[in-house]
Symmetry: D2
Subunit: 247 residues, 4 copies
């Protein structure tokens, strides 16, 4: 159906440089580890990592023009992404680009702009070790559940809990259980314009979550799901003549 998905991984890239602990967990950066989930897999044409400190914040037209699906990891530098760049990403999604937003990206500018809500939630990073999270598949018919067990267990995770201020998902794939007593809608699908958005909760920078085989499978599935649908042409907008004889 496609000649292959061109993936761009946008990684904030700040924690890895400022924290030895994060650099130890993700020596190839968070973006580099996300890349391993998709590189060389069936249906994936190319994988590229960009960062906030790259030219044009890694969001130039040259990059966006050659991106089918963008994976987004950001946390402490959301505010540094310019409003113009956030709007460009939003517009690209409306034009068909897929966006897979991870973890703290619930507060990133492009995700919030696409949702229209605050993205606020409860959270907790328990004593540096986190707590157990169990992601339950609640829609086993969904392509993002392909090849997965009934649930994915993460022994050490930051907690994100409800109420999570997002629009009701078009499709709910995962809901998380947390040891401390909370739950979260943790795998959520939306269409926006001609594009698709998937939010996936896991991925705190100090826990080796992106090494999990099941999590890698979700990342691959979500990337495939988010691939652009190519219509014969884009929808017509604006003032149009009638299609029927108006007498």
């Amino acid at each position: 159906m496609t000649t292959g998905i061109r993936v761009t991984i946008w990684n904030e890239g700040v924690h890895e440089r400022e924290s030895e602990e994060v650099a130890r967990v993700y020596p190839e950066t968070l973006g580099g580890q996300l890349a391993k989930a998709v590189e060389g897999k069936t249906g994936i044409a190319s994988v590229r990592c960009v960062e906030l400190d790259d030219e044009g914040q890694g969001l130039t037209d040259a990059i966006l023009d050659t991106t089918d699906v963008m994976l987004w990891w950001g946390h402490i530098a959301h505010a540094r992404v310019t409003d113009e760049n956030a709007e460009r990403v939003q517009q690209r999604v409306l034009d068909g680009m897929g966006l897979v937003a991870f973890h703290s990206a619930h507060k990133s500018k492009p995700f919030r702009a696409l949702m229209g809500t605050s993205g606020n939630l409860r959270w907790r990073e328990w004593k540096g070790v986190g707590e157990k999270e169990r992601l339950w598949v609640v829609d086993p018919a969904h392509p993002i559940a392909e090849g997965l067990p009934e649930y994915i267990e993460l022994p050490h995770a930051e907690m994100y809990g409800e109420h999570f201020d997002i629009p009701q998902p078009d499709q709910q794939v995962f809901i998380s259980w947390f040891q401390g007593g909370e739950i979260l809608r943790s795998g959520c699908c939306w269409h926006r314009g001609q594009g698709k958005v998937f939010y996936f909760r896991p991925g705190h920078e100090t826990f080796p979550i992106y090494y999990s085989e099941a999590i890698q499978r979700v990342i691959l599935n979500a990337t495939r799901w988010a691939a652009p649908t190519r219509g014969a042409h884009s929808p017509t907008r604006g003032n149009v003549p009638p299609l029927e004889d108006m007498g």
Copy 2:
């Protein structure tokens, strides 16, 4: 369940002053005519009309603090609403205020911010007389369909057609048929945060649509539906201790 809904009708108020034709159709302004749909009805505590040229663009804290549901009619002056005021309206909806957006409000700043999409669509105002529109009830169980016939027929309407760039509605109440060959998702419900949003297509300024009894019934039903849900308290956000013993 409530002690009565305090309704604020926000009307742009430009057409009525600049166009004799509009002033003839809506001598008491578009806002004034919308008010007639809700004034004195069961469950409605108060109705107030404000306009763009009022102090603070009619969107001061004093007004928003005493508004349960806001009805919004705007068209040619969307850009004059300040970004700050649009954000304030958006935030109020997330905090529980209902928003009923009419007709051209699909391109208003608060509606677009809450949707995250462009709101773009096809449109046509046929030779000054418009064309026939028939709004079909596709969800007869929905409270906004209370007391309505199977469809509402408008002999003279501006056409708005698909693709309409909005998120998939949480609930779809009306879909419109147009004489010229198009259709539109014309009555759409969403929850956003603690608040509710209803988009209702009819209402071109040169057609006497808001005098229709059936349309007035929809306006009343939508206002009641959009009334705030009052939880025992607002959702907790931010860093929280665990609810369970973490050992």
Copy 3:
């Protein structure tokens, strides 16, 4: 909007007679305790309890003709409800009657027929004392969340866990956390035909859950939400002439 909701509580009524333990927890029967949540409340016109062993299984035309919302509690005798009666309840919902299905009613004939799925799930009744359940409000804008805290905690509950084989809810109001590690979509809304269906998980017969003030509030809210929407007339079906001049 209505002259008051006529509530019929359909209670299987078997456990209370066969088990002293259940009779001790619910001396006035489960139906009788459900009734306390709605009796005498604003908007409720009447409340009546019927049981499986009543004439016509409590589902005669005389009863259904005078029911706006039916609350359904059943567990061990689902199979005794005749197929004809289950179909009658299904048809009444399609015609506008509200249905609030509690707990084990996920496997009742009318609920399954309305859903089209098996209703299967994981479950556990832990050592006779159950386990902690915490129902999180994930849609604070929904009328069924009116007056509720952020979550409802039940110290002793039977566990029902995902995957729960139901259609994706039109609106998701509650999601439950369980002590043993599972989650469940535990408060779910659907429209079916001209009627509404709410599934609410809590209510095991050996735990005094229906005495909880918060649970009683949910029952009342759900009953109000499920009240019929009265259109000006029912939708037309079958062969119809064109509405437009076909030349």
Copy 4:
């Protein structure tokens, strides 16, 4: 992601034998023409046509065991499909098989059982020539819209109009405009259990609709979309021990 979709086309096969007119329009049967949309296409492993008069009504275990996606065309002989066979098809969908239901299949037993509603609607076959239908793409991001124009125009179609008694679609892909003044939700997606269901309105037996290139594209897209998602194993049901230490 799959080794290829095994398609079974279930065609009632009555009209073609009883009506010369239908046999002239579909000399290779309706099933045979549907097959042309998928045969030999990328991702399709095999295509097989079965009919009501085949052994076991074309719904034997041997057939169902080797079917990934079933296309269903039926009209005047819905009642002849046995309840047992309808339940088998329903169960297969819950177990993962895709179902694409065409045109009059809105009243077929398996579709109705999966929906839980009557499937009733308004209809009209205008003077043997039908009327114009225009199917608008309202979700251009959906994979079923791949390669399509903004709308598909059918010069001669039977009319099916709202209110259409179906559950709110999980995803709405097409909405139809009809010359006679009606609209219909004409391309509708649902997940049911581990399976997917797509309803697609076009396909009256006396009009050569399935020869349309755009319609053929929809059939192919829908077949691909409905392909089973294969989890690592099926969801666990029934009584389960806790996943957490219960003290």
